[in-house]
Amino acid sequence: MFYRECGVYKDTYAGDMAIFPIPLDRYGFTVMLILAFVAIPLWASDYFISNIMIPFYCFSLSVIGLNILAGYAGQISIGHAAFMAVGAYSALILYGRFGIPLLPSILGGGIVSGFVGIVFGLPSLRIKGFYLAIATLASQFIIQWVIVHWQWFSGGVFGTVETPDMHIFGWLLDTPVEKYYLALGWLILLTVCAKNLVRGQLGRNWQAIRDVDYAAEIIGINLYRDKLIAFAVATFYAGIAGALITFCYYGAANIEEFHVMVSFALIGMIIIGGMGTILGSFLGAGFFVLLPLFINRFMGIFMEVVPSEIRSNIESIIFGGLIVFFLIVEPYGMARLWHTIKDKLRLWPFPY
């Protein structure tokens, strides 16, 4: 059982379009799914499930959105966390105030966020690059202000709203495992959608726009439409992620959780994970969630030696250092490393 394309005969259209044409990839992916659906809920501790896996899933979802926008369509956004907030608050208002069932509420949070995203994506029709980045930063501050200052949205002091109990068809979701399945379900569904979006017509259009926009326009791509769709899709993902992380992890919508530093961190995640790959979104988000844990474990050994100031800041030093490191050494991030490993595996045991 070698990792080979040999013997994979693509004799149907479906076979030709398979996401994982190589059998070993398929087996590996199945194992991961079994791990995620069966093994982790069965054997992992509640702490692991609710403090590592759930935020990991939610951030992955958000990073997939940002990756579609920045990595595929080439429109950088530094206001992505604000759209998570839009999704979180919309879902809360729909669910808690209007009594709409949970799943449609979360979907509604995503849709509202998508529409807001289209509005803030409008500047991308005229400007690009740094100018666009600053225009998206404007969305961060405007959304933050609206949520904090307009009582109708926040409903409380400093924009904090507790999440009500979650019911799906009368079934109360209150254990970490149930919340875990909620997040995982959305994640799998939307990842499949994203993967198919980016390898279809729309995804190709986005990549053409990212590479050379005027050339894309000349070959007949509707720049305006496709850019706005990219903004809508990206912010939709952010909205769903925001709603999920609020319902499943934070337990209360708080504007401080969607601060501008979170937007920056999301950008760091796509750089470290890999721009323009779905796999990279997971790697980047996983890295970001696991980093503080690793540091705590590792630093625990040297607890007495390392002064507390350094311990609390080493996270941002490592994060920043890795952003720079990946940009210089491997601009396509950890996803690229995985590709290199796969290329080596194809030839193994021969050197070339």
Binding site: R126, F130, D213, L223, I267, G268, I310, I317, I328
Partner: protein
């Protein structure tokens, strides 16, 4: 009417501070086409270093501390240019932009590791008295910094227009490759730019640090400078100054006269609203060169 002018003048004084930060951005963008997200972090680091030299680790006199802080920023400039930017020379500008995110995290992390995370006061012994000019209340502290900022800007203009190095920097900002081909050392020119931006960051860090205390949120003043930059035009030094004054006065007036009707606190995003408007009608800013690529 007097009240209107008072609000206006207070706004202008804050605007000078915004200009100082925006100036750092504009300088680096002019010379290396890098949009430096770490400018706010640089001000934070400069403030922290100054406090470190003044009270925390050493007890140096003020002038020596300022010199040492500038020295520290110079070291940073060398590190950034030779370690981070040099391998990225031929890459697309968006990559350089993202690299500055990394620099931002590094500076914040290292700065706070060395000097600690708690807020520190900074007192340079500049008297903070209020006095009235034609019925308008003013603070001597604000005026001092307005003076310092003016000297700095005039110095920079003379440096860029009259000196040999300044001319080389302008050549680099015009066209990297052409500058290289006539024998201007690109990396050295960049180092000079980052050193100047570091010195501007020192002034901004000191100015804001004395006002708000030296703490993590000092890095956030960069967010106030970004709309200033857009309004003034991203590569224009006079633009940064004038737009800074406009934004300072505008947001203060808006907060006082419009704020009460919509719930207050609008100065966090009011500059961005203006910036969005400017972007829509004049994408290259009010004073910028009209070279922005149209989509």
């Amino acid at each position: 009417m007097i009240f209107f002018f008072e609000v206006f003048i207070t706004g202008l004084m804050v605007g000078i501070m915004y200009s100082l930060v925006a100036l750092g951005f504009a300088l680096i963008f002019k010379a290396s086409d890098v949009f430096n997200m770490a400018q706010g972090a640089m001000s934070l680091f400069a403030g922290l270093a100054l406090v470190g030299f003044l009270y925390q680790y050493m007890h140096l006199p003020l002038w020596l501390s300022l010199l040492c802080t500038m020295g520290v920023m110079t070291i940073w400039a060398y590190v950034i240019v030779y370690v981070i930017l040099r391998p990225l020379v031929a890459r697309p500008p968006l990559m350089l932009f993202m690299a500055t995110f990394g620099v931002m995290y590094l500076m914040e992390g290292i700065g706070q590791s060395i000097y600690g995370t708690q807020a520190k006061g900074l007192n340079l012994g500049i008297p903070d008295q209020s006095f009235e000019v034609a019925g308008i209340l003013m603070s001597s502290f604000d005026l001092t910094f307005a003076g310092v900022a003016a000297v700095l800007v005039i110095g920079l203009v003379i440096f860029f227009q009259k000196t040999r190095t300044g001319r080389a920097l302008r050549a680099v900002s015009d066209d990297h490759e052409a500058a290289l081909s006539v024998g201007i050392p690109l990396l050295k020119a960049w180092v000079v730019t980052w050193v100047i931006a570091g010195i501007v960051a020192v002034v901004a860090g000191v100015a804001w640090g004395t006002r708000l205390g030296v703490q993590f949120s000092l890095g956030y003043i960069a967010f106030k400078a970004l709309p200033v930059l857009i309004i003034g035009g991203i590569d224009s030094i006079p633009g940064a100054i004038i737009a800074g004054l406009m934004v300072g006065a505008g947001e203060n007036l808006a907060e006082v006269f419009i704020g009460p009707y919509v719930g207050g606190g609008i100065q966090t995003f009011f500059p961005y609203l203006i910036a969005l408007l400017v972007l829509y009608f004049k994408p290259y800013g009010l004073f910028g060169k009209e070279i922005i690529e149209r989509v």
